[in-house]
């Protein structure tokens, strides 16, 4: 039985990864279990400069999911390299995925170049959901041309595989994925969170201080599956699938839709052992569903 997959030339023992923003720098989970049993994880979105993020409340709930408006709180790329990566090295011994955000092309390029030079980093995952301050706050990820521009610029300064992480808040996600692929992306990851709002009916105000937030958790799994499938049909680079994954069956479903690796986000926050449990359940689930090699099911949905 084979659970190993290869993501952009890097072998992973299994396709299960912690998703960015839901796995910190691994510290809190490494206290609970040996996180080396994961395929890998993507660390908290990193920007060129430190960011405090949004005011609280940053978290709201919905049926089968949650909204967050953390606002990319992180200590900045230099601190990540000086403190977080050396600390991570003590308990995580596999290539890690570096998640990068920015508010201008230049910020993305500088941050990616710095992380690309770090030995522990296996892949760059470039989150293009952020608003571009030079484009009146419109997200880089909602325009094929802007998404391609970022991809080209980051590729030009990175030796490691560059995976572009897409926002689902667009009308044609396949067009954006194709533009990234043509601009040299080594992989595509999706989906980021869906724009969402909750209102406190007593005060008639939004629950979140930022007004809107991003929806994630089991509620978005079917949306994510449809989008992963759509992108799988449009590109030939590997896909990292995520959105609502919270059990081993969800991982298999995500792979059938077209994902080579699968990230688990919000589920870690409510079930801290969920990634370990999924990895441990994987061989049994494969046996149950007659899967000898996980690679055989990637994109294998039957119509």
């Amino acid at each position: 039985m084979n659970t190993a997959v290869t993501l952009c030339g890097i072998r992973m023992d299994n396709p299960v990864m912690g998703a960015s923003g839901c796995f910190g720098y691994g510290v809190e989970f490494a206290e609970l279990y040996d996180i080396n049993l994961l395929g890998s994880f993507s660390f908290k979105g990193t920007t060129l400069h430190p960011r405090f993020g949004n005011p609280c409340p940053r978290i709201a709930e919905s049926n089968s999911g949650m909204l967050n408006a953390v606002g990319l709180q992180n200590p900045g790329v230099r601190q990540v390299i000086a403190v977080e990566l050396p600390r991570m090295k003590q308990f995580f011994h596999k290539p890690v995925m570096a998640n990068v955000s920015g508010f201008s092309l230049d910020e993305y390029v500088q941050t990616c170049a710095l992380l690309d030079a770090e030995e522990q980093v296996g892949w760059l995952e470039v989150n293009i959901s952020c608003p571009n301050v030079h484009l009146g706050g419109m997200s880089f990820g909602t325009e094929p041309a802007a998404a391609a521009e970022i991809t080209r610029a980051v590729k030009a300064v990175c030796k490691k595989p560059v995976i572009i992480k897409l926002t689902p808040n667009v009308s044609d996600i396949a067009a954006i994925a194709s533009a990234c692929e043509q601009a040299g992306a080594d992989g595509i990851s999706l989906i980021n969170t869906l724009v969402a709002l909750r209102i406190d009916i007593k005060t008639r105000r939004p629950v979140l201080a930022n007004r809107t937030g991003g929806l994630s958790g089991p509620a978005i799994l079917p949306v994510a599956l449809a989008m992963v499938r759509k992108v799988y049909e449009a590109v030939s680079v590997p896909i990292v699938g995520m959105g609502g994954v919270s059990c081993v069956e969800d991982v298999l479903e995500m792979m059938l839709a077209g994902a080579t690796a699968v990230q688990v986000g919000a589920a870690n926050l409510v079930e801290p052992y969920i990634c370990r449990d999924i990895v441990e359940d994987l061989p049994r689930a494969m046996a149950r569903h007659g899967i000898e090699d996980l690679n055989d099911i990637i994109g294998g949905i039957q119509y």
Binding site: G21, C22, F23, G24, V27, E28, F29, E31, L32, K44, F52, G53, C56, P57, R58, I59, A60, E61, S62, N63, S64, G65, M66, N68, V70, Q73, G217, P218, A266, N268, L269, V270, P272, Y273
Partner: protein, 242 residues
């Protein structure tokens, strides 16, 4: 932190919309008063953070107010039901900076963590005084239990019991030299300017995980950004920025 299933021993109404639940299970991860648990409520995605009001080597007590769907679902728990908890979260109160006469101030369901704290302070040979604040007399709970341990002043906003008004209407005993507080944020802010001495305050914030992984609960302090669930929920008066 430890995750585990806990067996409900009792779950009863103790004051207006206020319930006390006693659970049986592993309490080994609880080190200090003021720590909290994150309770999985069947049917809800996010866990609900609740302070531990008291614990021993086999049981722990939670006191919760019904304010929404999650806490309402908790009232349906019956003895022998099982609840999944993340236990031993947060830093809890540090007893060591306290002088001989600490003042405890609790508003409403801010009082629970002060109960274990009062027991521990008495055990440490201190003589605490408690000011407990409620909206109205029908919300008062644990007054007798606290009185068995320490001296108590009760305040109610509507004047239906004790001193009429907020906890800041009470007069702290002469010689009070340090304070521990938990309650609604306006009360905590008022205390910081009202009390001339140093102290520790337990804050509340909406939480994603409760164990430091999501940055959902970060606040700005003089120490930089701090996670209420991990570096907190208890902070020294001096580090808070209001």
């Amino acid at each position: 932190m430890k995750q585990g299933n806990y067996r409900v021993l009792s779950n009863r109404l103790i004051a207006h919309a206020t319930w006390e639940m006693v659970l049986e299970g592993d309490t080994g991860s609880l080190k200090r008063p003021g720590q909290f648990v994150n309770v999985q409520v069947p049917g809800k995605f996010l866990r609900r953070p609740l302070s531990v009001a008291a614990w021993d080597n086999a049981t722990l007590t939670l006191i919760y107010k019904v304010v929404g769907q999650g806490t309402d679902l908790l009232t349906r728990c019956r003895p022998a039901d099982s609840l999944n908890l993340l236990c031993g979260l947060g830093n809890g109160f540090d007893l060591s900076p306290s002088g001989q006469h600490p003042l405890l101030v609790g508003g409403g369901v801010g009082l629970p963590p002060l109960y274990q704290l009062a027991m521990d302070l008495v055990k440490a040979g201190k003589q605490p005084h408690l000011i407990m604040g409620f909206g109205s007399s029908d919300e008062i709970f644990y007054e007798d239990l606290f009185r068995r341990l320490i001296s108590v002043t009760v305040c109610t906003v509507d004047g239906s019991a004790g001193i009429k008004g907020f906890v800041t209407q009470a007069v702290p005993p002469k010689g009070s030299d340090y304070f521990f507080a938990c309650g609604p944020s306006p009360m905590l802010q008022a205390l910081c300017s009202w009390l001339p001495f140093s102290g520790q305050l337990s804050l509340e914030e909406r939480m994603g995980c409760g164990f430091g992984a999501c940055m959902g609960c970060s606040i700005q302090t003089t120490l930089g950004s701090q996670r209420v669930c991990k570096e907190g929920p208890v902070f020294a008066k001096e580090v808070l920025i209001w």
